[in-house]
């Protein structure tokens, strides 16, 4: 019999069951949910139970990850669904909503689970049991898997599992997922529970009712509602259970986590270390990703060459090479950055450092109305907005998360650098202020500052208007420090990267084909080429002819026509229709501006942002009346426009994916472009008035 493996999502587990002919056995239809607090050891247990037989997808309509696996234990088998890590089942966050819906059988294609395995961290018993009491209220059979028992022993916590089980009236099994210890017993009890309909008596519910009539407690809970009384009653019950089943030996020794914390959240060193960590992350996605990115780029170049050699010349070949291969390459080139960023995020989250970073920075970030956790997504966006926006997933509050996503693309990403560099190389090279500071460096810094400044303002405004909400609770656990589990880290990294390729891929491919078609049609006949110089070599003539043909093609294409069409709009910015074409094509990705200008100015598409021929061509470009098109002011205006405008289809695709809303995506494109236009307009017009 073949073992089921990770597979495409829709066909997923069900079809494997069919293949396994286990469908005939009604037991295999069983659905078991795994629930627990964040960091309780759920992933580790899930991996131990399912091995590689798992798949990851999203719940319909939201970005909450849905992890499902196939659990086989002897005679028995079940679908095992991993709920998001949560503290409570009261519906206040997206994760809690999803978990609630799964447990009540409200998720479209999922039946109500037959049993729940509650993963309970032995070192943090009381708070972990809180979730258990809530799940029990759903009248679903529950089995407790007690994790971290090794750590509990080290902390001199003696837990009487038999007593615990007796008081909770449900099975409690200590597991060591790493060593597969306790797994068999867990299976036995779980499948037994799933087939029985014995529901334990829930004493705290009667207590909650009783509390309602108790004046004293009513007073101390002041104006609280019935919900709060229930919380109180659950914890009262848990405290009793804890007293009776746990013997906490006194220890005077400070915990390891506390010792680490005294450095990592130290008033001074804490901040220094945080800056160092962030710089390392930034440096990594910025520079270490460069080599694999270049490799990917040349790989796709080679693939294009190959396609050129294999396919007969014509539209099909051009579509495949310039549309599809270039388009797909354009997405995949971001993969190294995305993988590296997610590697870091996984490590930072798994070690417990991420919450400390939020703890350190919350004061700063809350000034603009954002959560402390918004720092990392924004920081990453300096390398590339795509991983940055994906990293915003760590922010639980949907409005905070949305606000973070909306401002992330203002951070000057690496794709803007070629544009800045070209403009600086063309008009400001070698100039200095005060004799020693280069104008280029000042301008570069100013562009980064402009982006940050705009982002801060935008966040401030958004949080007070469209995304207005009472400040979400910051209340957050600072989990104990742990060594990250390599398997979990890499698993996280690859799943997220794959989701990116799958989700963003289709949109990006479509847009690249459209942009390709705009520049490709209608076809231009370029018979009127006149060799520039009679004594040029055959090779030079050939190159000049190709450059000329490319340029003519682009000028007369639909993209060229669009350039003419938008000329009246961009004239107040000092741009002509040729720059218009470049603006339109740089919608694919900002750095495309450089190659488009090279084509349109007849210097061939292979020129880069530092080549002399291109900078010279830009300086030489004249309007009909003989005045130069480009002045230093035009260059500055273009840079300002690029800082603020939303010109990256990959970002648009990922924002659509992450917000699950075209409305928000279009809003973002709209307001960023409007701001860019406004800022560029002001720059150019004020510059003119000042006589530049």
């Amino acid at each position: 019999m073949k073992t089921p493996t990770t597979e495409s999502q829709e066909s997923g587990v069900e079809s494997h069951l069919t293949e396994n002919s286990e469908i005939r056995n009604p037991k295999s239809q069983m659905l078991i949910a795994l629930a627990g607090n964040p960091n309780a050891g759920k992933t580790t247990l899930f991996n131990a139970l399912t091995g590689l037989k798992q798949k990851v997808a999203n719940y319909p309509g939201v970005t909450v990850e849905r992890k499902e696996g196939f659990w086989k234990a002897g005679e028995n088998a079940a679908r095992l669904i991993d709920l998001p890590g949560l503290y409570s089942l009261d519906v206040t966050s997206m994760d809690e909503q999803i978990a609630h819906d799964v447990l009540t059988g409200k998720i479209g294609n999922l039946p109500k689970p037959d049993a729940v395995i509650a993963v309970v961290d032995a070192t943090n018993l009381e708070r972990n049991l809180y979730l258990v009491t809530q799940i029990l209220e759903f009248k679903i059979p529950v089995v407790v898997a007690l994790t971290m028992v090794d750590l509990a022993e080290k902390q001199s916590l003696e837990i009487d599992t038999a007593k615990l089980s007796e008081l909770l009236q449900i099975p409690v099994i200590a597991v060591k997922a790493g060593q597969k210890h306790g797994i068999e017993e867990l299976a036995e009890k779980t499948f037994e529970a799933a087939q029985s309909d014995k529901i334990p008596h829930l004493p705290w519910l009667t207590e909650a009712e009783f509390l309602e009539s108790d004046e004293d407690i009513h007073l101390s809970l002041s104006d609280d509602a019935a919900a709060n009384r229930k919380i109180f009653a659950r914890y009262n019950f848990i405290s009793d259970v804890y007293q009776e089943s746990v013997n906490a030996l006194e220890t005077t020794e400070r915990g390891v986590s506390e010792k680490i914390d005294s450095v990592l959240t130290h008033k001074f060193f804490g901040l220094v270390i945080l800056v160092a960590v962030l710089l390392l992350v930034f440096q990594t996605i910025f520079s270490w990703a460069e080599l694999p990115m270049n490799l990917l780029e040349s790989g796709f170049g080679a693939l294009g060459e190959l396609a050129k050699a294999v396919l007969p010349e014509g539209i099909l070949a051009d579509l495949v090479i310039d549309g599809i291969i270039a388009g797909v390459g354009g997405i995949l080139v971001f993969l190294p950055q995305i993988l590296l960023l997610f590697l870091f995020i996984s490590i930072l989250e798994d070690t417990g450092y991420m919450s400390r970073a939020a703890f350190l920075l919350d004061k700063l970030m809350s000034k603009v109305g954002l959560h402390g956790k918004a720092f990392l997504p924004l920081m990453s966006s300096f390398a590339c907005a795509i991983p940055g926006i994906m990293a915003a997933r760590t922010i639980e509050n949907p409005r905070d998360r949305l606000a973070t996503i909306m401002i992330a693309p203002f951070m000057s990403c690496s794709a803007r650098l070629p544009v800045y560099t070209l403009m600086i190389a063309t008009f400001f090279a070698g100039q200095t202020v005060f004799g020693f500071i280069s104008v280029g460096a000042v301008l570069m810094l100013a562009m980064y500052a402009l982006g940050i400044f705009t982002a801060v303002i935008a966040a401030f405004v958004l949080k007070r208007t469209l995304l207005k909400s009472p400040p979400p609770p910051f209340v957050m656990e600072l989990p104990p420090y742990r060594l990250p589990n390599l398997r979990t880290v890499f698993q996280n990294m690859f799943t997220r990267a794959w989701l990116f390729v799958k989700r963003a891929g289709t949109v990006i491919l479509t847009i690249s084909i459209i942009l390709w078609a705009l520049a490709y049609f209608p076809r231009t006949n370029t018979e009127m080429f006149v060799p520039p110089d009679a004594n040029a070599s055959a090779e030079e003539i050939q190159k000049a002819k190709e450059d000329f043909q490319q340029s003519e093609q682009l000028r007369n294409s639909y993209a060229g026509k669009l350039g003419h069409l938008i000329e009246p709009v961009i004239t107040p910015l000092g741009f002509d229709w040729k720059i218009g074409i470049a603006l339109i094509s740089s919608f694919a990705a900002r750095e495309v501006l450089v190659s488009t200008l090279s084509i349109i100015y007849n210097v061939g598409k292979d020129a880069n942002e530092e080549s002399e021929t291109l900078t010279q061509a830009i300086r030489d470009e004249k309007r009909d009346d003989g005045t130069p098109v480009w002045t230093p002011l035009t260059a500055l205006t273009l840079m300002v426009f690029f800082v603020l405008a939303m010109q990256c289809m990959s970002t648009i695709a990922i924002v659509r994916r992450e917000t699950n809303s075209w409305a928000w995506t279009l809003f973002m494109v709209g307001y960023m472009t409007a701001l860019a236009y406004f800022a560029a307009f002001v720059t150019y017009q004020v510059g003119r008035m000042l006589g530049f």
């Binding site: 503290y87 409570s88 009261d90 206040t92 070192t123 943090n124 018993l125 009381e126 708070r127 809180y130 407690i217 101390s220 809970l221 002041s222 104006d223 609280d224 509602a225 919900a227 709060n228 919380i231 109180f232 914890y235 009262n236 405290s239 986590s257 914390d261 959240t265 130290h266 008033k267 001074f268 804490g270 901040l271 919450s355 703890f359 350190l360 919350d362 004061k363 700063l364 809350s366 009472p470 400040p471 979400p472 609770p473 910051f474 209340v475 957050m476 656990e477 600072l478 989990p479 104990p480």
Partner: protein, 73 residues
Amino acid sequence: MILTNLPIGETAKVVSVKGNNAVTKRLMEMGVVPGVAVKVVKTAPFGDPIEIRLRGYSLAMRKSEAEAIEVSE
């Protein structure tokens, strides 16, 4: 006494959690209910949020949120 007035390193018992909103609910769900012992561990470098310890784990919250928590002297 309000929790924010409790000196760093001191332990006290929670008397009540005042108010009925998302913050107080989350606080209670995290185990901050009348009767539990809490210890203030530290404040973040910029003076906010604070870290407290209860039921064997660490919880961070903004000072504005901690103001809902009344503790015994």
